[in-house]
Symmetry: C2
Subunit: 211 residues, 2 copies
């Protein structure tokens, strides 16, 4: 499948590399097509490099792997090419302006996923994977046993497509939380995640929902 | 141990009953000492009934099991009798004013636990158990396997006392998140908890932190 990955950081590199290894036709997008990190991705993986707009035009499906405040500007670079496309949003609205631990720049009665969905109503935003670190996103088997990942979104078909991709990454416990407003749940999980990071001394952990 | 339990709802009844069954000298406190629910507790369990002030005076250790907005008024009824006492705070700042799902009345850069600690600086607030439903709080073995509960608080001795009580309830995976500001984590977990409640169709679930 033709997939566009927006963002050149740790998450974008992990997701992009995994998608290439699974045989997808991947273009990573950056602020500019000659960005060092996007060129390094192409060299390292055999994937393609482009601008945000290039990657959005390339992808039948998109991954948003930007930092929280970068999501809307990045997707805006391909505004006319989002209609009907699934956008898997892995970003978190973390605000480090007052240091560590971060607060959230949007929370409680709204979420970053909802902001993105409102800004690009023709796209199908699916919030997912934001509750685990990059290495676990693309290789959940690094943690033994079944543990959980969530999907939130308004379009059932887009969520099904997202869940298929998650299964191809190795995810077994995928919980559909509901429409895009349910993304408030996993986004507001981040303050607990950040405290667990400090307590456990590793980012390679997750939660298993058990009953 | 002499323990005061503030609140006569499902959580107070579950915690109070469990503590009596473990041999503690328990007084449940209500707005008034002749409140129907607090009298029913005494009849049902053999524990004692009183006002909020009575229960605070009675307890060497206290459980706050009020609704979120009831915590400070209830504890205020025994303001002069809180010094040095551990207060295990199980409450959540849920705001149902706009219907279901609820939002949080305090979040992000503050928490209910911190508000209580600021209001009663001589008490040792320990946030705990707010991430599970009442039946699981007092009987974690209802869910198979190890699953997690959190403690947050400024006083190491108070957290140790709380952890001992949690172990006596059957908790095996007790995670110390840090000082009272870390209560922002488990309090902001509630929006995810509420969505999981809807998705799973039961309140008797929990999360296991796994690595």
């Amino acid at each position: 499948m033709k997939i566009g990955v927006l963002g050149t950081g740790v998450v974008g590199q992990a997701i992009g590399g995994k998608l290439v290894s699974l045989g997808h036709d991947v273009m990573m997008g950056a602020r500019s097509a000659d960005n060092e990190k996007v060129l390094a991705f192409a060299t390292r993986t055999g994937g393609k490099a482009g601008s945000f707009g290039d990657a959005i035009r390339h992808g039948e499906l998109l991954f948003n792997c930007t930092r929280g405040d970068g999501a809307i500007p990045a997707l805006g670079q391909g505004r006319g090419h989002l209609a009907g496309k699934t956008v898997m949003d892995t970003s978190n609205p973390l605000d480090f302006s007052a240091g560590f631990p971060p607060s959230l720049s949007v929370s409680n009665t709204d979420s970053l996923a909802e902001m993105i969905q409102r800004e690009f109503p023709a796209a199908h935003i699916v919030k997912t994977l934001n509750t685990v670190t990059a290495a676990i996103m693309v290789d959940p088997s690094k943690i033994p046993g079944a543990h959980s990942v969530f999907v939130s979104g308004n379009d059932a078909g887009a969520k099904g497509q997202a869940m298929d991709l998650l299964r191809s990454f190795g995810w077994q416990s995928i919980i559909d939380l509901g429409d895009i407003t349910s993304a408030r749940g996993p986004e507001q999980f981040l303050p607990l995640w950040v405290r667990l990071l400090t307590t456990l001394g590793t980012a390679e952990f997750n939660i298993a929902v058990v009953k």
